[in-house]
């Protein structure tokens, strides 16, 4: 997927004045924030569970090569074929080759954010394979030619009316307005796609090393159809998704749906192990697993490694006051919100997304809800430190920071400078004691007044008081 994070600021302006988007985002609070809070307390040892989950992820990340090889060995022993992909293009090439090998003309796909990293759908269309998204949200986006704006609820930026219009236009059927009717209509279109598909493509929430299984967590049932009906199944996921044992997965699955959608458990948790063998009635004849690096291995062993713990629940974005106001598209790539503001610079370059680490108040709401205890604000700050170290900050900002640091280390001059500064500001504040403009800080005064200072610093007044 093309990265437009460089245009973050301009995209923010557009999104803030998009009335439809703002209306859609207003439901995020009820659906996800209140949803999570209603069920997360079911885990009576929540903090210990989060700590355990983080430890499971760390154990894998500290020895990723070992666990990946272990996974490959177990998966292969059970009849799956494991492919290693360094880049998104490699994934596209491997899937196209598998399609050619098995004479695939049509593919039915369940949700996969990793495939969005690769731009897989476009690549397959070019290779002559017709791809149908079958997750309802992803299907809607495919019809609308749009990218997901949320990693769990990809179409959260659209309201029902837009979807009614879209279905009427694309399905050439009378416009429906009820949610149940719309779902039924989508179902009728999708059902033949499942039955006719030569290939099913899915993501993978976890890779279980001890059994070589791909585990997927879904709600709509399309995941089951896609992974069992077609004769070829291709699962694509990131190399960091390995977990040692099924028991470890249960800890993570206690946290994932509760953090993501406010569900105690999703409708389906599918453990996909091996291809169909002679004793099985169902399942794909060929099971391919593609593991994508795409920059992940460069994060291993660095001060940013904790980011790879991420289990893609989306809680950080649901609780982020920045995401809540601008939605996911403004971030410009596959992953939005706090996790995306870290992953996008790491996976597709800090130079291409200079705003993302900075466009956060570091309020910490994300870190509190992260099920695997990723210190997201600290990682954002570390990216800012990288920007500083690489000279990527603007001259103006660097100068201001230097000047402030110098002043703060010279108390006498600091006292004089602030004394003059606050007098000046106090005068400018006038009768209503408000500054309506501030040189160099129009970012503040475009939307807010600045309450004028009293006119004397605490330091001055305190000294006066003492000498009385």
């Amino acid at each position: 997927m093309q990265n437009t994070a460089i245009n973050f600021k301009r995209q923010v302006t557009i999104k803030l004045s998009d009335a439809r988007l703002q209306d859609a985002l207003s439901r995020l609070q009820t659906r996800f924030v209140e949803g999570r809070s209603a069920v997360i307390g079911e885990i009576n040892d929540l903090q210990e569970t989060r700590t355990a989950a983080a430890a499971i992820r760390d154990r894998v990340l500290n020895d990723l090569e070992h666990w990946l090889l272990h996974f490959e060995q177990q998966a292969t022993a059970r009849g799956a074929i494991v492919h290693w992909a360094e880049t998104g293009e490699d994934v596209n090439r491997i899937v196209a080759e598998i399609a050619t090998q098995h004479g695939v003309r049509t593919a039915a796909k369940s949700k996969s954010m990793v495939s969005e990293e690769c731009g897989l759908n476009d690549a397959l269309e070019l290779a002559g394979v017709k791809v149908m998204e079958t997750d309802l949200g992803e299907y809607i986006l495919q019809l609308a030619h749009e990218a997901p704006s949320h990693i769990v609820a990809p179409v959260v930026h659209k309201n029902k009316e837009e979807i009614s219009d879209l279905f009427a236009e694309k399905h050439h059927l009378p416009r429906k307005t009820g949610i149940a009717e719309l779902c039924r209509e989508a179902r009728e279109v999708l059902r033949p796609a499942f039955l006719n598909a030569d290939m099913g493509i899915s993501g993978g929430n976890f890779l279980v090393a001890e059994t070589g299984s791909v585990l997927i967590v879904t709600n709509e049932g399309n995941g089951r159809l896609v992974t069992t009906l077609p004769r070829v199944h291709v699962a694509i996921t990131g190399i960091e998704k390995v977990v040692p044992t099924l028991e470890d997965v249960t800890t993570l699955v206690r946290l994932l749906p509760r953090s993501a959608t406010g569900q105690s458990i999703t409708n389906y948790v599918s453990v996909l192990t091996g291809n169909k063998d002679s004793a099985d009635h169902d399942g794909p004849e060929h099971f391919h697993i593609i593991l994508l690096d795409n920059g992940r291995s460069s994060i291993l062993g660095s001060e940013m490694q904790e980011m790879l713990r991420c289990i893609r629940c989306g809680a950080c974005m649901n609780h982020c006051p920045v995401y809540q106001n601008i939605g996911g598209h403004a971030y410009g790539w596959v992953y939005p919100g706090p996790m995306g503001s870290i992953l996008t610079p790491l996976l597709s370059g800090l130079e291409a997304s200079p705003d993302l680490p900075n466009a956060s108040t570091l309020c910490g709401a994300c870190a509190v809800v992260c099920p695997v205890k990723i210190p997201l604000p600290d990682l954002l700050r570390k990216l800012r430190e990288r920007q500083m170290a690489r000279g990527m900050k603007s001259r103006q900002e660097t100068l201001m920071l230097k000047a402030w640091a110098w002043l703060a280390l010279h108390p006498a001059i600091y006292a004089l400078a602030t004394k003059i500064g606050v007098r000046f500001m106090s005068l400018l504040g006038g009768k209503d004691k408000l500054l309506h403009t501030l040189p160099g800080a129009s970012g503040w005064t475009d939307g807010r007044d600045f309450p004028a200072p009293a006119g004397k610093t605490f330091r001055e007044l305190y000294r006066q008081g003492k000498s009385k």
Binding site: A359, T361, A454
Partner: protein, 249 residues
């Protein structure tokens, strides 16, 4: 006990009355308050902008000025959080300095946290009459667990009615330099906060961090609200919430 007051750079320059309010509160809780004159800034602006080096020098300056006190108190959750939570990270590779900075950090408190937990102030001297609503600033809340403390102190004032706003713990959009760098976004977040404040019909919005209060007040005034009062919790608790700042002397 001997308490060092770190006034913070923002209060020193923008609303000195809060510093005097903090002194009054600490003294009414029986503390001996000292204000080291060389103090300036805790280093948070640089630290959060990626300038770790300057933050280290500020931390050393803080250590030199405040290490001899029994406790250090700041009328700001974000500056206290900087010292308690983030200073140790600055010295993670220097064990001897880390031990000193951590020890001092453990004796460093946000004002309301200190008044409740350590000084055990039983009754706030303020005489505020009316309704107010409380905004929980992010760092104090999430780094220092300051939530109940200001409410407990306000509850000792018989004239105070607390009308809680919805989402009192959601960021107001200040975020230091964020408020200038991403002004439009910051303003929208402030707008949401103002809407929730107005929804309580309280006469006054109170908080524990001046940065957030300036942001909230700035947006309220720009929106034409010149009535809702915006006060630091120390001003309300101490009674130094009315009139001119010069009266603080």
């Amino acid at each position: 006990m001997r308490v060092g007051l770190f006034v913070t750079c923002l209060i020193d320059a923008m609303r000195p009355r809060i510093g005097f309010a903090a002194i009054k509160l600490l003294e009414s809780a029986g503390c001996e308050v000292v204000v080291p004159e060389q103090q300036t800034c805790c280093g948070q602006p640089g630290y959060n902008s990626g300038d770790r080096k300057s933050a280290v020098t500020m931390a050393l300056k803080y250590l030199a000025e405040f290490e001899t006190f029994d406790y250090v108190v700041l009328p700001s959750g974000s500056c206290a959080g900087m010292i308690r939570v983030h200073y140790p990270d600055l010295f993670r590779d220097d064990p001897s300095m880390l031990a000193r900075i951590t020890a001092l950090g453990q004796r460093t408190y946000e004002l309301t946290d200190f008044l409740v937990k350590i000084a055990k102030l039983e009754k706030a001297p303020g005489k505020f009459m009316g309704s107010l609503t409380y905004h929980d600033s992010c760092s104090g809340l999430r780094e220092l667990d300051v939530y109940k403390q200001p409410r407990a102190l306000l509850a000792t004032m018989p004239g105070v009615t607390l009308n809680e706003m919805v989402e009192s713990t959601t960021c107001c959009g200040f975020g230091g330099t964020f408020s200038v760098k991403y002004g439009e976004l910051s303003t929208r977040m402030a707008d949401n906060k103002c809407r929730h404040i107005t929804g309580t019909h309280a006469s006054t919005i109170v908080g524990g961090d001046l940065g957030c209060l300036l942001n909230i007040e700035g947006r309220l005034r720009r929106n034409g609200d010149h009535i809702t009062r915006v006060l630091h919790v120390a001003e309300v608790l101490s009674g130094l919430d009315a009139g001119q700042d010069s009266e603080a002397n």
